[in-house]
């Protein structure tokens, strides 16, 4: 039945080969070698250990924050891409799911401004009188 679909879209011949291969791979569901999952699992362990060590060794300041964010992003990326199979989905789905959370970053910047303003007012008006 894959072939019938292919013939219906004759004008896409150039892309047919990839797509058929992809569809065939997909036809049995998301099938990937177990080894891939074990490697990702090991990496998640390593990254978690690293982020724990950041706290254990009591790193401070921007070094601490940048390391925490780095390990966090790497872990999240591995989970979404491999464990949740996003790396093998069509871009139409990947972008529909992964782009909207970018709006959260806008929200973060708004709330950073807001909380700095609140903090300033609290310091100015509610600080203990000297």
């Amino acid at each position: 039945m894959t072939n019938a679909t292919v013939h219906m879209e004759g004008q896409l011949q150039a892309h047919v080969h990839d797509a058929v291969a992809a569809a065939a791979a997909h036809a049995k569901g998301q099938q990937h070698p177990i080894k891939l999952y074990l490697v990702v699992w090991a990496w998640l362990f390593v990254l978690s250990t690293c982020s724990y060590l950041v706290d254990y060794f009591g790193l401070h300041g921007s070094l601490r924050w940048s390391l925490i964010l780095l390990f966090m992003v790497l872990k999240a990326g591995l989970i979404v891409a491999v464990f949740m199979h996003m790396a093998w989905e069509r871009l139409a789905l990947a972008y529909a799911i992964l782009l909207p959370p970018v709006a959260v970053l806008v929200f973060v910047s708004i709330m950073v401004l807001e909380s700095e303003y609140t903090h300033l007012l609290r310091v100015v008006f509610f600080a203990t009188p000297l």
Binding site: M1, T2, T5, M8, L12, H15, V16, A19, V20, A23, H26, A27, K28, G29, Q30, Q31, H32, Y37, V40, W41, L44, F45, S48, S51, Y52, D55, Y56, G58, R64, W65, I68, L69, F71, M72, A76, I79, V80, V82, F83, M84, E89, R90, L91, A92, L93, A96, I97, P100, P101, V104, F107, M111, V112, E114, S115, T118, H119, R122, V123, F126
Partner: protein, 240 residues
């Protein structure tokens, strides 16, 4: 040929890749997600909405922490455990993280064996995942008990900013609820796998729809998401 709902929508093949593919998939009066079943698409959309929920929790925590003039309690000390006469910082949280990551690993393998129609291995791996999840919730209950005994309340705590307690109970409580629901979901699906429901495409008692092994992957998506959320909570609440 054994068909799975997942992929054979009859439209998957011969589509354009890349950017042109996005435009072609979304344009015109047709379904946008070509080779993804409605079940999987809806789980992804639900997870997107859940992302916004947890984002709002973490954002409110950020706002509370940034705007307070009172020092924030040091999580490294608050969550330390006394092991062998020595305070080890965050050790319980680190173990919880490893437990949850391990559960994600076993879940990913369960999905794999599901698509290979290996009924027993799939069910066993799903039950192992559920056991890891239950362990996680148990450790969280222990952590909550410890903190409550030490006097942490949603309206105050002995160490600093009053909002610490409300942020902690709200964020970890909501996450723990998600884990608990995931454990129940996993056990329910594992039972169906073990019974062979998806080999004979038995109809669900509630929806009357045919069951397929794809549901293992959909359950997996939810489970991995729970792990994903923990990655962010671990970074922002416990380590920051």
């Amino acid at each position: 040929m054994a068909e799975t709902v997942l992929t054979n929508t009859g439209q998957g093949a011969g589509r354009l890749p890349g950017w042109q593919g996005i435009a072609a998939d979304w344009a015109s009066d047709q379904r946008a997600f070509k080779n993804v079943s409605w079940g999987k698409a809806m789980m992804w959309i639900f997870l997107l909405s859940d992302t916004f929920i947890f984002s709002c929790f973490l954002l409110s925590y950020m706002t509370a922490r940034m705007s307070t003039t009172v020092p924030w309690p040091n999580p490294s000390e608050v969550f330390a455990l006394n092991l062998g006469g020595k305070d080890v910082p965050l050790i319980l949280i680190a173990i919880m993280t490893f437990v949850l990551i391990s559960s994600s690993g076993t879940m990913a393998m369960a999905v794999n064996f599901g698509y290979r129609r290996d009924r027993v291995r799939t069910a066993i791996l799903m039950l192992v995942t559920a056991a890891f999840g239950a362990t996680f919730v148990g450790m969280q209950a222990f952590e909550w008990t410890k903190l409550i005994m030490e006097g942490v309340r949603p309206w105050g705590n002995p160490w600093g900013a009053a909002q610490f307690g409300s942020c902690f109970f709200m964020i970890t409580g909501f996450h723990g609820t998600h884990v608990t629901i995931g454990v129940i979901f996993l056990i329910a699906i594992a039972r169906k796998v073990l019974r062979g429901d998806f080999d004979v495409e038995r109809r669900g008692f509630f929806t009357s729809r045919r069951g397929y092994y794809e549901i293992v992957e959909i359950t997996g998506l939810y489970w991995h998401f729970v792990d994903l959320v923990w990655v962010f909570i671990f970074a922002f609440f416990y380590l920051w």
